[in-house]
Symmetry: C2
């Protein structure tokens, strides 16, 4: 569609994009200039390449506004819209690639997702996070050791946040029938770098389908399911924090996760557990942390107002 | 930053983007597939090119949600965010290029802007649209003829919607001190294709600066001003409708319109008017309409639910 029989004359104003880029003033931060130069170029190239019409652009704007109107403290629909086109997984890959360039052995990361809470209760090593275990749930004893990616030595005092959905596909904040903080908690590694808890074997679930992200999946003829996974954040002073998800090797949707978060190295195998009346399965999962030599860059593109982070 | 010393091995997963594109199912419409293939490719290329971090992506998501939360019946902040990066002007150029490819002489279009109303009262030829004329306003007699772009013959019965801001930079729906429908109206060309009205000479004004579009302008070190302009929509059955803005040749900001809508062919000259106690200036502006041979494509990328157009 974008071909032009007269090659002497560009089909659209050839100076337009550069004019928009050049409008940035001298006080624009170098990083913001770099980001916006690339964003404007790609957005314009996209529009010209497929000859986006005013009506189609207006549909996109309406979708964007709809996402914002649907978002609140418990739901981030704007995030979900970018998730279903793979953007969160991609920036996650980029970020951890940048952060880990000095070391090669840190556990790979995966996206945070919209159901994390900042107030996980700290729980005893070996205790449970499942307080409303449904009949169709299978309890798992999960354990392992956190080590230094370079020295391989165990790391005491590392914190591990864990959270997962119940077998109905809902996280506790989405589900009135689960007690507060069901299937989530914070654990601390002992003097041997070891952690352990009881949780449930995760099951696949659909991401929310009633908003613009669901609409997008629908018109793209895609399903909303995520493969069975457990969320983890591992942190220790002096080490790069890891936000990750681990995926059940036997789950459906490993090859077509609706938010594209699966990496081979994050697929784990649950095995049968013997001699424990509390758990039918077990999962040994070791985690290595890379020493933090660099200052971690904060997101400050739009710094100068609290309005962005807390609209 | 994105350079890689080891050219054998790509810096990021080389299959990721194609995997996301391939996730589209067979029932995706051909146009949606075309649009999303290009959008996903450009979004991912953008993220890789500038190595977008998770924190920066989260700032962008928050900006997008903020735009939706600020939008309502009287304000479209999502639109404004895309306007300040030139996207509405670009899709306008693309759309009218596509629509007018059969004829070369139709009046050029410009963006609609967020202040149009669908219920303009029809007014008599030669009457006024200024009912609360401020002291610093200069009244203009604007007139001209609407013709067929091919035959050059005058077109009777064409409707012209006109709207403009007052000298304080506000459209009537933004300003309690202006009467309903001040500085807007709908006119119909007479048997000679002629139209005429009294309006005010337009003045520059800033776009709303208190939301994400304003925030973006601020961090890009750009001003929010638009050059002085009058909005017009011209329609007649059997002809392609035109949405346009005309710009005062003597206005500031012609070269740095905050939404990049100025085209040379839309810059007009107001001249002194003699022998009319009602108006100090006059503007003769003729408009040519291209016959409509094609079916106009509607925006139907997300068709199948009323939720997009009316969230």
């Amino acid at each position: 569609m974008a071909t032009n029989s007269n090659k002497e004359e560009p089909r659209f104003d050839p100076n337009f994009t550069q004019n928009v880029i050049n409008a940035m003033g001298p006080k624009t931060s170098p990083r913001m200039r770099e980001v916006m130069t690339s964003l404007i170029q790609h957005l314009h190239d996209f529009a010209r390449e497929i000859e986006l019409t005013v009506d189609e652009w207006a549909e996109g704007v309406a979708l964007m506004n709809w996402a914002g109107q649907m978002s609140n403290d418990r739901r981030n629909e704007g995030q979900l819209v970018t998730d279903v086109v793979g953007l969160e997984s991609l920036v996650d890959e980029i970020t951890y690639k940048k952060a880990s360039e000095a070391t090669d052995y840190a556990t790979q990361s995966a996206i945070l997702g919209p159901f994390f809470r900042h107030d996980h209760p700290t729980r005893e090593k070996g205790s449970t996070i499942t307080f409303n275990t449904p009949e169709d749930a299978q309890v798992v004893y999960m354990y392992g050791v956190v080590t230094d990616a370079k020295t391989k030595k165990p790391l005491a005092g590392a914190t591990i946040d864990v959270w997962q959905a119940s077998t109905n596909g809902l996280y506790e904040q989405q589900d009135e029938k689960q007690v507060d903080h069901n299937l989530r908690g914070k654990f601390v590694t002992d003097e041997n770098g070891e952690y352990a808890w009881y949780c449930i074997r995760p099951t696949p679930y659909p991401i929310p389908f009633d908003g613009p992200a669901g609409k997008l999946l629908q018109v793209l003829d895609r399903h909303p399911y995520r493969p069975a996974h457990i969320h983890l954040i591992v942190m220790l002073d002096g080490y790069k924090p890891i936000t990750t998800q681990i995926f059940d090797k036997d789950s459906k949707y490993l090859d077509d996760d609706s938010v594209f978060a699966v990496k081979d190295s994050l697929v784990v195998e649950f095995t049968e557990r013997k001699g424990d009346s509390e758990a039918k399965y077990e999962l040994k999962y070791d985690i290595s942390l890379a020493p933090n030599n660099d200052t971690v860059a904060e997101g400050t593109l739009l710094a100068g107002s609290g309005a962005i982070s807390n609209p």
